[in-house]
């Protein structure tokens, strides 16, 4: 399931809920992306989604990833709106029988979410606001998975 969150959320509470009642899982990998202060140069991150379209695109991609890696389950929460340094931007968690699949699927989902998911990102800093494009590192990370 994918949820877009307008307000700050607690990744730990999501992890607790995701781990509950799993007696055949073995491995739960997760990732939390936090907004960085960058020493004060980026005081606020703003993320815009296209409600309905953004969730559908993420859902479709995650369902495909779940098949590719043999996941038992997954959960994604992505923040939208204005995000302060230290707040969670994204939480991704994956459940599998063994850890290799759980780790790789989580890594794979993050690479895509960070570089290709339908969000538009603006940084508000002391010098004003600017729209951000994916970094070269984000593109390289995502391309690791291309066949």
């Amino acid at each position: 399931m994918i949820t877009l969150a307008q307000a700050p959320f607690d990744p730990g509470a999501l992890l607790t809920a995701f781990c509950a009642g799993r007696d055949e899982t073995g491995a739960v990998a997760s990732f939390v992306g936090l907004a960085r202060a960058e020493g004060g140069s980026a005081s606020i991150l703003e993320l815009e989604a296209y409600p309905g379209f953004t969730e559908s695109a993420i859902e479709a991609f995650a369902v495909e990833a779940a098949g590719r890696f043999g996941l038992q389950d997954w959960r994604i929460v992505h923040r939208v709106g204005k995000i302060a340094p230290g707040e969670a931007v994204v939480f991704v968690t994956t459940a599998a029988k063994h850890r290799r699949a759980a780790f790789e699927a989580c890594d794979f989902l993050m690479d895509w979410l960070k570089s290709r998911a339908p969000f538009w990102k603006k940084e508000h800093g002391p010098a004003g606001a600017r729209w951000i494009e994916p970094t070269a590192q984000d593109r390289t990370d995502a391309q690791r998975w291309d066949v």
Partner: protein
């Protein structure tokens, strides 16, 4: 009537995010926007801008039924 949605830098440039436009096709919609704001119409045809009609990406031309949602999506940045 189509409901037009702009995202990211396109909304900043236009000064609006959502507007009702009378148009029976994507071409007519672009012409109507160009009539009001030629620079915006050019930006909507710029590199990497994708168009979604009722939340599905379309390429090229499209007929617009009544109460259709048309979104212009600049290059996505990821989250």
């Amino acid at each position: 009537m189509a409901r037009v949605l702009l995202f990211g830098r396109l909304a900043d440039q236009a000064g609006w995010r959502e507007r009702e436009v009378e148009a029976a096709s994507l071409a007519a919609l672009r012409a109507s926007i160009a009539h009001d704001d030629a620079a915006l119409a050019r930006a909507l045809e710029g590199p990497g801008v994708q168009v979604a009609v009722d939340k599905a990406l379309v390429r090229g031309e499209a007929v617009l039924a009544a109460a259709t949602e048309v979104a212009f999506l600049p290059p996505m940045s990821g989250g």
